[in-house]
Symmetry: C2
Subunit: 237 residues, 2 copies
C-alpha cells in the first residue's frame, strides 16, 4: 500500500522500517465530497488524518455566525492533531474539492513516539510549520492592507500548490471562491471583490467557474511584500 504522494520530490525519503510502521499505523482511506466536513469543532475525533488528495480549509465559527478561515490544508498535511493531543478540536475542517484522507488511530500515537523517534520528530516538524504559516497569516491580517492581504493569500496558496506539483511556474488553479477569501482575510465579501478585481485587472489572477487562477504568483508576493516560503523537503506521515 505505497503512497503515491511519497514519490513527489517535495517529501523526504523514509527508512524501510518507518514505512512499514506507517503502513501498519494506517487505518484506511476516506473520501470526502466538496463541502463535506472532515472534523468538527468540539468533537474529540478518534482519528488523525493525512491529506492524500484535494484541498480543504480549517476554520472557526462564532455563535453569531462570523467565520474565520485559519489556514488551508493540502496533500501531505496532517489534520486532527489538536484533538489527539489536547482532547478536543477547537476548529473544523471542510473539503474545498473532493478530498482523500489517510486515517490513523490516534490512540496509537504514543506507540509511534515510543518506537519511531524519527516519525515523532516529523509530527512536531509539521506542527511547527503550521505555526509558522499561522504567524505569517496573523501578520497579514493584522498589518497588511486589503490589497496586500489578498495578494499574500493568493501568492501563498499558489506557492504551496506549486511546491507540491513540482512546477514552480505556470498558472495555478485554487479551488476557492471569494467568500473563502473574505473569510480568510477578515474582510467583507463586497470589499474582497473590489480588491480582487484590482488584482485581476493587472492580470495577476483570474476567476473562472468559481475558482481562482493565479497567473503571476511572484508579482503577488512582491505586492504583498512577502518573502516567500522557506521551503525545504518535508516529512510525510
Amino acid at each position: 500500500m505505497s503512497c503515491p504522494l511519497r514519490l513527489k520530490p517535495a517529501f523526504r525519503n523514509f527508512e524501510p522500517d518507518e514505512l512499514a510502521f506507517v503502513d501498519h499505523f494506517k487505518k484506511g482511506e476516506i473520501t470526502l465530497e466538496r463541502g463535506a466536513t472532515a472534523l468538527s469543532e468540539g468533537e474529540a475525533s478518534p482519528n488523525l488524518y493525512t491529506v492524500l488528495r484535494g484541498w480543504g480549509f480549517r476554520y472557526k465559527l462564532m455563535e453569531d455566525g462570523r467565520r474565520q478561515i485559519l489556514n488551508y490544508v493540502l496533500p501531505g498535511d496532517l489534520i486532527g492533531l489538536q484533538s489527539s493531543l489536547l482532547g478536543e478540536m477547537e476548529h473544523s475542517v471542510e473539503a474545498l474539492s473532493e478530498m482523500v484522507l489517510c486515517s490513523f488511530d490516534r490512540h496509537r500515537l504514543p506507540e509511534l513516539y515510543r518506537d519511531f523517534p524519527g516519525l515523532a520528530f516529523d509530527v512536531t516538524w509539521l506542527a511547527s510549520r503550521e505555526e509558522q504559516m499561522l504567524d505569517e497569516n496573523l501578520l497579514s491580517i493584522g498589518r497588511r492592507s486589503a490589497v496586500e492581504r489578498a495578494s499574500y493569500l493568493l501568492a501563498f496558496l499558489a506557492t504551496r500548490a506549486q511546491t507540491l506539483s513540482g512546477d514552480p511556474d505556470g498558472p495555478v488553479r485554487i479551488p476557492i471562491n471569494q467568500q473563502h477569501v473574505a473569510d480568510t482575510l477578515g474582510l467583507s465579501l463586497v470589499h474582497t471583490n473590489r480588491t480582487l478585481r484590482k488584482l485581476a485587472s493587472k492580470d495577476f489572477i483570474a476567476w473562472k467557474d468559481g475558482v481562482c487562477i493565479v497567473t503571476d504568483a511572484q508579482a503577488l508576493a512582491r505586492l504583498a511584500r512577502w518573502r516567500g516560503l522557506g521551503e525545504t523537503t518535508r516529512p510525510l506521515i
Copy 2:
C-alpha cells in the same frame, strides 16, 4: 538543580528518569532585561529555551517597520522550536519584564526524541497548544470588533497568568503598554487607547505605571464572546 516551576499545580508530574534527562539536557540559565531580545528573526539559534520567569512576546516585522505581535510567552513556554526544526527563526522574541530562560542545546533534540518519547510527546503538545492559541488570535483579529478584540486579549492574558499563579480570581498585572496592545490587535495606537478607555470606564481594567491591571477577566471574556481556555495540566520541558 530542580526547577521551582515544577512545583506549580499547572504542570504535570515527571518520571525520575525524565527529570534526570532534562537536568542533563539543560545547558544553563540566561537572564534578560526588559526590552532585551531573546531570539531574532532570521537567525538560526543554537538554543531552545523554556521560560522560567517573566513575560515576553513573539513578533514579526515588515521592512517598513510595521510590527505584529503574534503571541505572548509566559513561564513554562518553549521558545525557539521553529529554528530548531525548520532551520531559521521567522519571528523575534523580546522580554516584557526581566526574564529568566532555561537554555537547551538544540542539537540534542534528536537524543530527546530517541530516548524519551514522553518528553518528545510533550514538545509536540506544547507546539500544538501554541497553534491553538494562534487560531483563536486569528479569529479575534479577523472577525472581532476593536472592543471585542481588546477584551479578548486581556481576558486571554489574565487567564494565562491566573492559571500559572494558581489564583483564578483577583486582579492580574500584565506588563504591557498600549503600544503592545495595538500591535497585537492590528489597530492604531490612538484607536487602541480609545477602546481601552471604554473598558477602563467599566472598571474591567486599569492602566498604572505603564502596565495593565485586569480586575474582571470574566467580564472581558463575556464581552469578547470568548469561551475561555480549555486548560488541563500541561507538560514542562
